[in-house]
Protein backbone atom coordinates (compact mmCIF):
# COMPACT_ATOMS: atom_id res chain seq x y z
CA UNK A 1 0.00 0.00 0.00
CA UNK A 2 2.80 2.45 0.80
CA UNK A 3 5.82 3.21 -1.32
CA UNK A 4 9.27 4.64 -0.71
CA UNK A 5 9.74 8.32 -1.64
CA UNK A 6 11.70 7.28 -4.75
CA UNK A 7 8.74 5.80 -6.57
CA UNK A 8 5.97 8.17 -5.59
CA UNK A 9 5.30 8.99 -9.20
CA UNK A 10 1.62 8.60 -9.91
CA UNK A 11 0.77 8.92 -6.22
CA UNK A 12 -1.71 11.72 -5.58
CA UNK A 13 -1.91 11.47 -1.80
CA UNK A 14 0.94 10.18 0.37
CA UNK A 15 0.43 9.95 4.14
CA UNK A 16 3.26 8.87 6.46
CA UNK A 17 3.03 8.24 10.20
CA UNK A 18 0.25 10.72 10.88
CA UNK A 19 -0.80 11.10 14.53
CA UNK A 20 -3.56 13.23 15.95
CA UNK A 21 -4.75 13.87 19.52
CA UNK A 22 -7.66 16.01 20.61
CA UNK A 23 -7.54 17.50 24.08
CA UNK A 24 -10.74 18.80 25.58
CA UNK A 25 -11.13 19.80 29.24
CA UNK A 26 -8.12 17.81 30.33
CA UNK A 27 -9.08 14.52 28.66
CA UNK A 28 -7.13 13.48 25.61
CA UNK A 29 -8.47 11.49 22.68
CA UNK A 30 -6.11 9.60 20.41
CA UNK A 31 -7.91 10.30 17.13
CA UNK A 32 -5.36 8.93 14.65
CA UNK A 33 -2.43 6.59 15.18
CA UNK A 34 0.32 5.63 12.75
CA UNK A 35 -1.59 6.41 9.56
CA UNK A 36 0.23 5.40 6.36
CA UNK A 37 -1.67 5.66 3.11
CA UNK A 38 -1.00 6.07 -0.60
CA UNK A 39 -3.75 7.06 -2.98
CA UNK A 40 -2.76 6.57 -6.63
CA UNK A 41 -3.74 9.25 -9.13
CA UNK A 42 -7.19 8.91 -10.65
CA UNK A 43 -8.47 6.38 -8.13
CA UNK A 44 -11.61 6.53 -6.06
CA UNK A 45 -10.63 5.60 -2.50
CA UNK A 46 -13.05 5.45 0.41
CA UNK A 47 -12.25 5.78 4.10
CA UNK A 48 -14.76 3.47 5.77
CA UNK A 49 -15.38 2.91 9.46
CA UNK A 50 -17.66 3.58 12.42
CA UNK A 51 -18.05 7.01 14.00
CA UNK A 52 -15.01 7.95 16.03
CA UNK A 53 -12.52 6.05 13.87
CA UNK A 54 -10.96 9.33 12.74
CA UNK A 55 -11.90 9.08 9.06
CA UNK A 56 -13.24 12.62 8.88
CA UNK A 57 -10.27 13.89 10.89
CA UNK A 58 -7.90 12.23 8.42
CA UNK A 59 -9.77 13.83 5.52
CA UNK A 60 -9.58 17.25 7.19
CA UNK A 61 -5.83 16.78 7.65
CA UNK A 62 -5.51 15.97 3.93
CA UNK A 63 -7.42 19.18 3.13
CA UNK A 64 -5.22 21.24 5.44
CA UNK A 65 -8.28 22.11 7.54
CA UNK A 66 -6.72 20.38 10.53
CA UNK A 67 -3.05 20.04 11.50
CA UNK A 68 -1.58 16.67 12.42
CA UNK A 69 0.53 16.26 15.57
CA UNK A 70 3.14 14.18 13.79
CA UNK A 71 3.79 12.65 10.38
CA UNK A 72 3.71 13.92 6.83
CA UNK A 73 1.09 14.54 4.20
CA UNK A 74 1.97 15.18 0.57
CA UNK A 75 -0.49 15.94 -2.18
CA UNK A 76 1.27 15.57 -5.55
CA UNK A 77 4.57 15.99 -3.73
CA UNK A 78 3.61 19.21 -1.95
CA UNK A 79 2.12 19.97 1.46
CA UNK A 80 -1.68 20.49 1.62
CA UNK A 81 -1.30 24.25 2.08
CA UNK A 82 0.54 24.55 -1.24
CA UNK A 83 -2.07 22.47 -3.06
CA UNK A 84 -4.82 24.54 -1.49
CA UNK A 85 -3.11 27.80 -2.53
CA UNK A 86 -3.34 26.57 -6.14
CA UNK A 87 -7.01 25.58 -5.63
CA UNK A 88 -6.01 21.96 -6.37
CA UNK A 89 -8.20 20.50 -3.60
CA UNK A 90 -11.98 20.43 -3.98
CA UNK A 91 -13.75 20.02 -0.65
CA UNK A 92 -17.28 18.61 -0.61
CA UNK A 93 -18.66 18.97 2.92
CA UNK A 94 -21.23 16.89 4.77
CA UNK A 95 -24.02 19.45 4.29
CA UNK A 96 -24.35 21.12 0.86
CA UNK A 97 -23.24 24.43 2.44
CA UNK A 98 -24.45 26.38 -0.58
CA UNK A 99 -24.52 30.16 -0.26
CA UNK A 100 -28.25 31.01 -0.01
CA UNK A 101 -27.85 34.42 -1.68
CA UNK A 102 -26.30 32.91 -4.81
CA UNK A 103 -28.18 31.08 -7.54
CA UNK A 104 -27.31 27.43 -8.15
CA UNK A 105 -25.11 28.45 -11.12
CA UNK A 106 -23.36 31.15 -9.08
CA UNK A 107 -22.76 28.60 -6.33
CA UNK A 108 -21.26 26.17 -8.83
CA UNK A 109 -18.96 28.99 -9.99
CA UNK A 110 -17.72 29.86 -6.50
CA UNK A 111 -14.17 28.54 -6.96
CA UNK A 112 -13.65 30.94 -9.87
CA UNK A 113 -14.64 33.93 -7.73
CA UNK A 114 -12.27 33.44 -4.79
CA UNK A 115 -8.47 33.24 -4.53
CA UNK A 116 -7.84 34.84 -7.92
CA UNK A 117 -4.10 34.67 -7.28
CA UNK A 118 -4.22 30.92 -7.88
CA UNK A 119 -5.48 31.54 -11.42
CA UNK A 120 -2.23 33.35 -12.23
CA UNK A 121 0.04 30.64 -10.81
CA UNK A 122 1.62 28.50 -13.50
CA UNK A 123 2.01 24.74 -13.47
CA UNK A 124 -1.38 24.06 -11.94
CA UNK A 125 -2.99 20.69 -12.56
CA UNK A 126 -6.37 22.32 -12.27
CA UNK A 127 -8.69 22.35 -15.27
CA UNK A 128 -11.86 24.30 -14.38
CA UNK A 129 -15.01 22.82 -15.89
CA UNK A 130 -18.07 24.59 -17.24
CA UNK A 131 -20.61 24.90 -14.38
CA UNK A 132 -23.55 24.70 -16.79
CA UNK A 133 -22.28 21.48 -18.30
CA UNK A 134 -21.99 19.96 -14.81
CA UNK A 135 -25.40 21.17 -13.73
CA UNK A 136 -26.84 19.53 -16.86
CA UNK A 137 -24.98 16.29 -16.11
CA UNK A 138 -26.44 16.37 -12.60
CA UNK A 139 -29.98 17.06 -13.86
CA UNK A 140 -30.03 20.59 -12.48
CA UNK A 141 -30.05 22.61 -15.72
CA UNK A 142 -33.65 23.75 -15.10
CA UNK A 143 -32.63 25.03 -11.66
CA UNK A 144 -29.46 26.90 -12.61
CA UNK A 145 -31.09 30.27 -11.87
CA UNK A 146 -32.95 29.07 -8.76
CA UNK A 147 -31.78 29.79 -5.26
CA UNK A 148 -30.80 26.92 -2.94
CA UNK A 149 -33.91 27.28 -0.74
CA UNK A 150 -36.05 26.37 -3.77
CA UNK A 151 -34.27 23.00 -4.09
CA UNK A 152 -34.83 19.66 -2.38
CA UNK A 153 -32.15 18.23 -0.11
CA UNK A 154 -30.93 15.82 -2.78
CA UNK A 155 -30.76 18.56 -5.40
CA UNK A 156 -28.80 20.79 -3.05
CA UNK A 157 -26.26 18.05 -2.45
CA UNK A 158 -25.94 17.55 -6.23
CA UNK A 159 -25.40 21.31 -6.61
CA UNK A 160 -22.63 21.02 -4.01
CA UNK A 161 -21.06 18.24 -6.09
CA UNK A 162 -21.33 20.43 -9.19
CA UNK A 163 -19.45 23.16 -7.29
CA UNK A 164 -16.74 20.64 -6.39
CA UNK A 165 -16.30 19.33 -9.92
CA UNK A 166 -16.48 22.81 -11.53
CA UNK A 167 -13.35 23.74 -9.61
CA UNK A 168 -11.53 21.20 -11.79
CA UNK A 169 -9.16 20.24 -8.98
CA UNK A 170 -7.17 17.03 -9.53
CA UNK A 171 -7.98 15.95 -5.95
CA UNK A 172 -11.49 15.85 -4.50
CA UNK A 173 -12.15 15.25 -0.81
CA UNK A 174 -15.70 14.29 0.13
CA UNK A 175 -16.78 14.18 3.78
CA UNK A 176 -19.88 11.93 4.01
CA UNK A 177 -21.74 14.10 1.50
CA UNK A 178 -24.78 11.81 1.31
CA UNK A 179 -25.20 10.97 5.00
CA UNK A 180 -28.04 13.44 5.55
CA UNK A 181 -30.10 12.34 2.53
CA UNK A 182 -33.09 10.01 2.57
CA UNK A 183 -32.50 6.57 1.06
CA UNK A 184 -33.94 7.28 -2.40
CA UNK A 185 -32.15 10.62 -2.88
CA UNK A 186 -29.03 9.00 -1.54
CA UNK A 187 -29.08 6.19 -4.13
CA UNK A 188 -29.74 8.68 -6.93
CA UNK A 189 -26.91 10.90 -5.74
CA UNK A 190 -24.48 7.96 -5.51
CA UNK A 191 -25.23 6.91 -9.09
CA UNK A 192 -24.80 10.43 -10.47
CA UNK A 193 -21.50 10.71 -8.61
CA UNK A 194 -20.30 7.39 -10.10
CA UNK A 195 -21.27 8.57 -13.57
CA UNK A 196 -19.60 11.93 -13.15
CA UNK A 197 -16.46 10.41 -11.70
CA UNK A 198 -16.17 7.87 -14.50
CA UNK A 199 -16.32 10.77 -16.95
CA UNK A 200 -13.66 12.97 -15.30
CA UNK A 201 -11.54 10.41 -13.33
CA UNK A 202 -10.35 12.77 -10.58
CA UNK A 203 -8.52 11.40 -7.57
CA UNK A 204 -11.18 11.10 -4.88
CA UNK A 205 -10.92 10.39 -1.16
CA UNK A 206 -14.45 9.77 0.09
CA UNK A 207 -15.56 9.27 3.69
CA UNK A 208 -18.54 7.11 4.58
CA UNK A 209 -19.90 4.78 7.26
CA UNK A 210 -21.95 2.81 4.73
CA UNK A 211 -20.31 -0.38 3.41
CA UNK A 212 -22.64 -0.55 0.39
CA UNK A 213 -21.88 3.05 -0.54
CA UNK A 214 -18.15 2.40 -0.20
CA UNK A 215 -18.28 -0.70 -2.45
CA UNK A 216 -20.51 0.92 -5.08
CA UNK A 217 -18.31 3.99 -5.52
CA UNK A 218 -14.74 2.91 -4.89
CA UNK A 219 -11.70 1.27 -6.38
CA UNK A 220 -10.35 0.74 -2.88
CA UNK A 221 -11.93 0.74 0.55
CA UNK A 222 -9.69 1.72 3.45
CA UNK A 223 -11.17 0.08 6.57
CA UNK A 224 -10.54 2.08 9.75
CA UNK A 225 -11.11 1.12 13.39
CA UNK A 226 -11.52 3.43 16.40
CA UNK A 227 -9.69 4.06 19.72
CA UNK A 228 -7.19 4.98 18.44
CA UNK A 229 -8.13 5.58 14.81
CA UNK A 230 -6.06 3.21 12.67
CA UNK A 231 -6.10 1.79 9.20
CA UNK A 232 -6.97 -1.87 9.69
CA UNK A 233 -7.02 -3.10 6.10
CA UNK A 234 -7.38 -2.00 2.49
CA UNK A 235 -9.90 -3.88 0.37
CA UNK A 236 -9.62 -3.71 -3.44
CA UNK A 237 -12.98 -3.44 -5.20
CA UNK A 238 -12.51 -5.16 -8.56
CA UNK A 239 -16.02 -4.55 -9.83
CA UNK A 240 -16.28 -3.57 -13.49
CA UNK A 241 -16.92 -0.01 -14.59
CA UNK A 242 -19.09 1.73 -15.68
CA UNK A 243 -21.12 0.91 -12.63
CA UNK A 244 -24.89 1.20 -12.46
CA UNK A 245 -27.78 0.42 -10.15
CA UNK A 246 -27.89 -3.10 -11.64
CA UNK A 247 -24.51 -3.83 -10.04
CA UNK A 248 -26.07 -3.63 -6.59
CA UNK A 249 -28.22 -6.67 -7.38
CA UNK A 250 -25.25 -8.91 -8.26
CA UNK A 251 -23.77 -11.59 -5.98
CA UNK A 252 -20.24 -10.16 -6.35
CA UNK A 253 -21.48 -6.81 -5.00
CA UNK A 254 -23.22 -8.46 -2.02
CA UNK A 255 -20.14 -10.60 -1.35
CA UNK A 256 -17.85 -7.53 -1.34
CA UNK A 257 -20.15 -5.59 0.99
CA UNK A 258 -20.15 -8.58 3.37
CA UNK A 259 -16.38 -8.85 3.07
CA UNK A 260 -15.87 -5.18 3.88
CA UNK A 261 -18.18 -5.43 6.89
CA UNK A 262 -16.37 -8.59 8.09
CA UNK A 263 -13.01 -6.91 7.72
CA UNK A 264 -14.23 -4.02 9.86
CA UNK A 265 -15.70 -6.35 12.48
CA UNK A 266 -12.53 -8.42 12.80
CA UNK A 267 -10.42 -5.29 13.08
CA UNK A 268 -12.75 -3.78 15.64
CA UNK A 269 -12.73 -6.90 17.79
CA UNK A 270 -8.93 -7.08 17.58
CA UNK A 271 -8.76 -3.46 18.72
CA UNK A 272 -11.01 -3.95 21.76
Amino acid sequence: MTTSPADRHGIAVAVRGVEKHFTTRGSSLHALSGIDLDVPEGRFVTLFGPSGCGKSTLLRILAGLEASDAGEVELYGQPPAAASARKEIAWIPQTPALLPWRTVRENARLSADVNRTADRLGGSQRVPLDPDELLAALGLEAFADARPDQLSGGMRQRASIARGFAQGAPLMLMDEPFSALDELSREAAQLTLVELWERYRKTVVFVTHSAAEAVLLSDQVVVMTPRPGRIHAVVDIDLPRPRSSRLEETDEFAALVTHVKHTLRSGWQAAE
Partner: protein
Protein backbone atom coordinates in the same frame (compact mmCIF):
# COMPACT_ATOMS: atom_id res chain seq x y z
CA UNK B 1 -75.18 20.84 -9.66
CA UNK B 2 -74.43 24.22 -11.12
CA UNK B 3 -75.85 25.85 -8.05
CA UNK B 4 -73.53 23.79 -5.94
CA UNK B 5 -70.40 24.57 -7.94
CA UNK B 6 -71.14 28.29 -7.96
CA UNK B 7 -72.18 28.67 -4.36
CA UNK B 8 -69.30 26.78 -2.84
CA UNK B 9 -66.53 29.15 -4.02
CA UNK B 10 -68.71 32.17 -3.32
CA UNK B 11 -69.16 31.03 0.23
CA UNK B 12 -65.44 30.43 0.54
CA UNK B 13 -64.85 33.95 -0.76
CA UNK B 14 -67.26 35.42 1.70
CA UNK B 15 -65.57 33.69 4.64
CA UNK B 16 -62.09 34.78 3.57
CA UNK B 17 -63.09 38.43 3.06
CA UNK B 18 -65.10 38.15 6.25
CA UNK B 19 -62.04 36.94 8.07
CA UNK B 20 -59.97 39.72 6.60
CA UNK B 21 -62.55 42.27 7.73
CA UNK B 22 -62.52 40.65 11.15
CA UNK B 23 -58.75 41.00 11.35
CA UNK B 24 -59.08 44.69 10.45
CA UNK B 25 -62.07 45.24 12.70
CA UNK B 26 -60.39 44.34 15.99
CA UNK B 27 -57.64 47.01 15.88
CA UNK B 28 -60.10 49.50 14.32
CA UNK B 29 -62.61 49.07 17.12
CA UNK B 30 -59.81 49.35 19.68
CA UNK B 31 -58.56 52.52 17.99
CA UNK B 32 -62.03 54.10 18.04
CA UNK B 33 -62.42 53.18 21.72
CA UNK B 34 -59.03 54.76 22.49
CA UNK B 35 -60.03 57.93 20.61
CA UNK B 36 -63.31 58.09 22.55
CA UNK B 37 -61.46 57.65 25.84
CA UNK B 38 -59.03 60.34 24.74
CA UNK B 39 -61.84 62.79 23.94
CA UNK B 40 -63.64 62.01 27.18
CA UNK B 41 -60.47 62.64 29.20
CA UNK B 42 -59.67 65.81 27.24
CA UNK B 43 -63.13 67.31 27.94
CA UNK B 44 -63.17 66.40 31.61
CA UNK B 45 -59.57 67.33 32.35
CA UNK B 46 -58.53 70.19 30.08
CA UNK B 47 -55.03 70.52 31.54
CA UNK B 48 -54.12 66.91 30.83
CA UNK B 49 -54.44 66.36 27.06
CA UNK B 50 -55.95 68.37 24.19
CA UNK B 51 -59.04 67.24 22.28
CA UNK B 52 -58.27 65.72 18.89
CA UNK B 53 -59.82 68.57 16.89
CA UNK B 54 -57.54 71.07 18.67
CA UNK B 55 -54.50 69.16 17.34
CA UNK B 56 -55.99 68.90 13.84
CA UNK B 57 -56.74 72.62 13.82
CA UNK B 58 -53.24 73.54 14.97
CA UNK B 59 -51.60 71.20 12.45
CA UNK B 60 -53.69 72.43 9.52
CA UNK B 61 -53.40 76.14 10.43
CA UNK B 62 -49.56 76.14 10.27
CA UNK B 63 -48.24 73.04 8.49
CA UNK B 64 -45.04 74.90 7.51
CA UNK B 65 -44.06 75.26 11.15
CA UNK B 66 -44.56 71.55 11.81
CA UNK B 67 -42.77 70.47 8.64
CA UNK B 68 -39.82 72.76 9.43
CA UNK B 69 -39.41 71.23 12.91
CA UNK B 70 -39.83 67.73 11.48
CA UNK B 71 -37.21 68.34 8.80
CA UNK B 72 -34.81 69.83 11.35
CA UNK B 73 -35.07 66.75 13.59
CA UNK B 74 -35.07 64.30 10.71
CA UNK B 75 -31.80 65.74 9.37
CA UNK B 76 -30.04 65.27 12.72
CA UNK B 77 -31.55 61.81 13.07
CA UNK B 78 -30.54 60.65 9.58
CA UNK B 79 -27.03 62.13 9.59
CA UNK B 80 -26.40 60.72 13.09
CA UNK B 81 -27.86 57.39 12.06
CA UNK B 82 -25.58 57.08 9.04
CA UNK B 83 -22.49 58.11 11.01
CA UNK B 84 -23.21 55.92 14.06
CA UNK B 85 -24.17 52.88 12.01
CA UNK B 86 -21.14 53.22 9.70
CA UNK B 87 -18.68 53.50 12.58
CA UNK B 88 -20.33 50.55 14.36
CA UNK B 89 -20.22 48.40 11.24
CA UNK B 90 -16.60 49.25 10.47
CA UNK B 91 -15.66 48.41 14.06
CA UNK B 92 -17.57 45.12 13.83
CA UNK B 93 -15.58 44.20 10.72
CA UNK B 94 -12.39 44.95 12.64
CA UNK B 95 -13.56 43.03 15.70
CA UNK B 96 -14.22 39.77 13.81
CA UNK B 97 -10.71 39.94 12.33
CA UNK B 98 -8.63 41.19 15.27
CA UNK B 99 -9.28 39.59 18.63
CA UNK B 100 -7.45 42.36 20.49
CA UNK B 101 -9.81 44.94 19.03
CA UNK B 102 -12.78 43.05 20.48
CA UNK B 103 -11.41 43.09 24.01
CA UNK B 104 -10.44 46.74 23.60
CA UNK B 105 -13.67 48.06 22.08
CA UNK B 106 -16.38 46.08 23.85
CA UNK B 107 -15.95 47.45 27.41
CA UNK B 108 -15.88 51.04 26.10
CA UNK B 109 -18.92 50.40 23.91
CA UNK B 110 -20.78 48.95 26.90
CA UNK B 111 -19.84 51.97 29.01
CA UNK B 112 -21.15 54.35 26.35
CA UNK B 113 -24.33 52.29 26.11
CA UNK B 114 -25.10 52.45 29.84
CA UNK B 115 -24.36 56.18 30.16
CA UNK B 116 -27.73 58.02 30.20
CA UNK B 117 -27.94 60.00 27.00
CA UNK B 118 -29.74 62.90 28.75
CA UNK B 119 -26.61 63.30 30.85
CA UNK B 120 -24.31 63.53 27.83
CA UNK B 121 -26.49 65.88 25.80
CA UNK B 122 -25.87 69.12 27.80
CA UNK B 123 -22.16 68.35 27.98
CA UNK B 124 -22.04 68.12 24.19
CA UNK B 125 -23.80 71.49 23.88
CA UNK B 126 -21.06 72.98 26.07
CA UNK B 127 -18.40 71.37 23.88
CA UNK B 128 -19.85 72.09 20.43
CA UNK B 129 -22.09 75.10 20.97
CA UNK B 130 -25.49 75.84 19.49
CA UNK B 131 -24.93 73.94 16.27
CA UNK B 132 -26.30 70.75 14.81
CA UNK B 133 -23.16 68.82 15.80
CA UNK B 134 -24.11 67.92 19.41
CA UNK B 135 -27.49 66.57 18.22
CA UNK B 136 -25.87 64.47 15.52
CA UNK B 137 -23.38 63.09 18.05
CA UNK B 138 -26.18 62.12 20.46
CA UNK B 139 -27.95 60.24 17.67
CA UNK B 140 -24.72 58.57 16.56
CA UNK B 141 -24.12 57.41 20.15
CA UNK B 142 -27.59 55.92 20.67
CA UNK B 143 -27.63 54.06 17.32
CA UNK B 144 -24.05 52.81 17.73
CA UNK B 145 -24.50 49.99 20.21
CA UNK B 146 -27.37 47.98 18.68
CA UNK B 147 -25.60 48.04 15.32
CA UNK B 148 -22.22 47.08 16.80
CA UNK B 149 -23.68 44.03 18.55
CA UNK B 150 -25.83 42.90 15.62
CA UNK B 151 -23.11 43.39 13.03
CA UNK B 152 -20.53 41.57 15.16
CA UNK B 153 -22.86 38.61 15.70
CA UNK B 154 -23.91 38.65 12.03
CA UNK B 155 -20.37 38.75 10.66
CA UNK B 156 -19.42 35.83 12.93
CA UNK B 157 -22.49 33.73 12.11
CA UNK B 158 -20.97 31.94 9.16
CA UNK B 159 -21.85 28.35 8.18
CA UNK B 160 -18.71 26.44 9.31
CA UNK B 161 -19.04 23.97 6.42
CA UNK B 162 -19.15 26.82 3.89
CA UNK B 163 -16.11 28.22 5.70
CA UNK B 164 -14.34 24.86 5.11
CA UNK B 165 -15.00 25.21 1.38
CA UNK B 166 -13.54 28.73 1.42
CA UNK B 167 -10.52 27.58 3.42
CA UNK B 168 -9.65 24.68 1.09
CA UNK B 169 -9.81 27.18 -1.77
CA UNK B 170 -7.29 29.35 0.13
CA UNK B 171 -9.78 32.20 -0.11
CA UNK B 172 -8.30 35.53 1.00
CA UNK B 173 -9.67 37.41 4.02
CA UNK B 174 -11.23 39.82 1.53
CA UNK B 175 -12.97 36.93 -0.28
CA UNK B 176 -14.31 35.58 3.00
CA UNK B 177 -15.49 39.02 4.13
CA UNK B 178 -17.11 40.00 0.84
CA UNK B 179 -18.53 36.69 -0.30
CA UNK B 180 -19.31 34.94 2.97
CA UNK B 181 -19.35 37.16 6.08
CA UNK B 182 -21.10 40.23 4.65
CA UNK B 183 -24.02 38.41 3.02
CA UNK B 184 -24.38 36.13 6.06
CA UNK B 185 -24.54 39.20 8.31
CA UNK B 186 -27.27 41.05 6.40
CA UNK B 187 -30.31 39.67 8.31
CA UNK B 188 -28.59 40.65 11.58
CA UNK B 189 -27.54 44.04 10.22
CA UNK B 190 -31.12 44.84 9.24
CA UNK B 191 -32.36 43.74 12.66
CA UNK B 192 -29.82 46.19 14.12
CA UNK B 193 -30.91 48.87 11.67
CA UNK B 194 -34.54 48.50 12.76
CA UNK B 195 -33.49 49.10 16.36
CA UNK B 196 -31.18 51.95 15.37
CA UNK B 197 -33.77 53.69 13.18
CA UNK B 198 -36.29 54.07 16.00
CA UNK B 199 -33.66 55.07 18.57
CA UNK B 200 -32.32 57.67 16.10
CA UNK B 201 -35.56 59.71 16.32
CA UNK B 202 -35.57 59.25 20.08
CA UNK B 203 -31.98 60.49 20.39
CA UNK B 204 -32.57 63.48 18.11
CA UNK B 205 -35.68 64.64 19.99
CA UNK B 206 -34.13 64.20 23.45
CA UNK B 207 -31.01 66.10 22.44
CA UNK B 208 -33.16 68.96 21.15
CA UNK B 209 -34.61 69.46 24.64
CA UNK B 210 -31.50 71.53 25.35
CA UNK B 211 -29.28 73.87 23.37
CA UNK B 212 -31.51 74.64 20.41
CA UNK B 213 -34.70 76.48 19.48
CA UNK B 214 -35.32 74.36 16.40
CA UNK B 215 -36.57 70.83 15.93
CA UNK B 216 -39.35 68.71 17.39
CA UNK B 217 -37.66 68.35 20.77
CA UNK B 218 -37.29 72.11 21.15
CA UNK B 219 -40.86 72.61 19.98
CA UNK B 220 -42.15 70.20 22.63
CA UNK B 221 -40.15 72.00 25.33
CA UNK B 222 -41.47 75.36 24.12
CA UNK B 223 -45.05 74.05 24.18
CA UNK B 224 -44.44 72.84 27.72
CA UNK B 225 -43.51 76.27 29.00
CA UNK B 226 -46.54 77.88 27.30
CA UNK B 227 -48.80 74.97 28.24
CA UNK B 228 -49.68 74.66 24.54
CA UNK B 229 -51.12 71.17 24.72
CA UNK B 230 -52.22 71.06 21.08
CA UNK B 231 -48.69 71.78 19.80
CA UNK B 232 -47.06 69.43 22.29
CA UNK B 233 -49.22 66.47 21.43
CA UNK B 234 -49.22 67.15 17.69
CA UNK B 235 -45.42 66.99 17.83
CA UNK B 236 -45.52 63.78 19.87
CA UNK B 237 -47.80 62.09 17.36
CA UNK B 238 -45.81 63.45 14.43
CA UNK B 239 -42.57 62.06 15.91
CA UNK B 240 -44.21 58.65 16.40
CA UNK B 241 -45.39 58.63 12.79
CA UNK B 242 -41.92 59.63 11.59
CA UNK B 243 -40.30 56.76 13.53
CA UNK B 244 -42.87 54.42 12.03
CA UNK B 245 -42.07 55.69 8.54
CA UNK B 246 -38.34 55.17 9.14
CA UNK B 247 -39.02 51.60 10.28
CA UNK B 248 -41.10 51.06 7.14
CA UNK B 249 -38.24 52.33 4.97
CA UNK B 250 -35.82 49.91 6.64
CA UNK B 251 -38.28 47.05 6.08
CA UNK B 252 -38.62 47.95 2.39
CA UNK B 253 -34.83 48.15 2.01
CA UNK B 254 -34.48 44.79 3.75
CA UNK B 255 -36.94 43.15 1.39
CA UNK B 256 -35.09 44.63 -1.59
CA UNK B 257 -31.64 43.54 -0.40
CA UNK B 258 -32.35 40.12 1.15
CA UNK B 259 -34.05 38.14 -1.57
CA UNK B 260 -33.21 34.65 -0.31
Amino acid sequence: MSALTTTTPRRADRTSTGRRLGELAAPLVFFVLLALAWQWTAYHNRSLIPPIQAMVTDLSSRPDYYLAQLWETLQSALIGLVIGVSIAFALAVGIVHVRALRTAVMPVALLINVTPIVAISPALIVAFGFTRTPHIIVVAIVVFFPMLINATVGLSSVDPQAMDVFRTLSATKGDVLLRLRLPSSLPFVFAGLRLSASTAMLGAIISEFTGTSKGMGASIMLATSYLNLAQMWSMIFLSALTSLALLGLVAVAERMVIRW
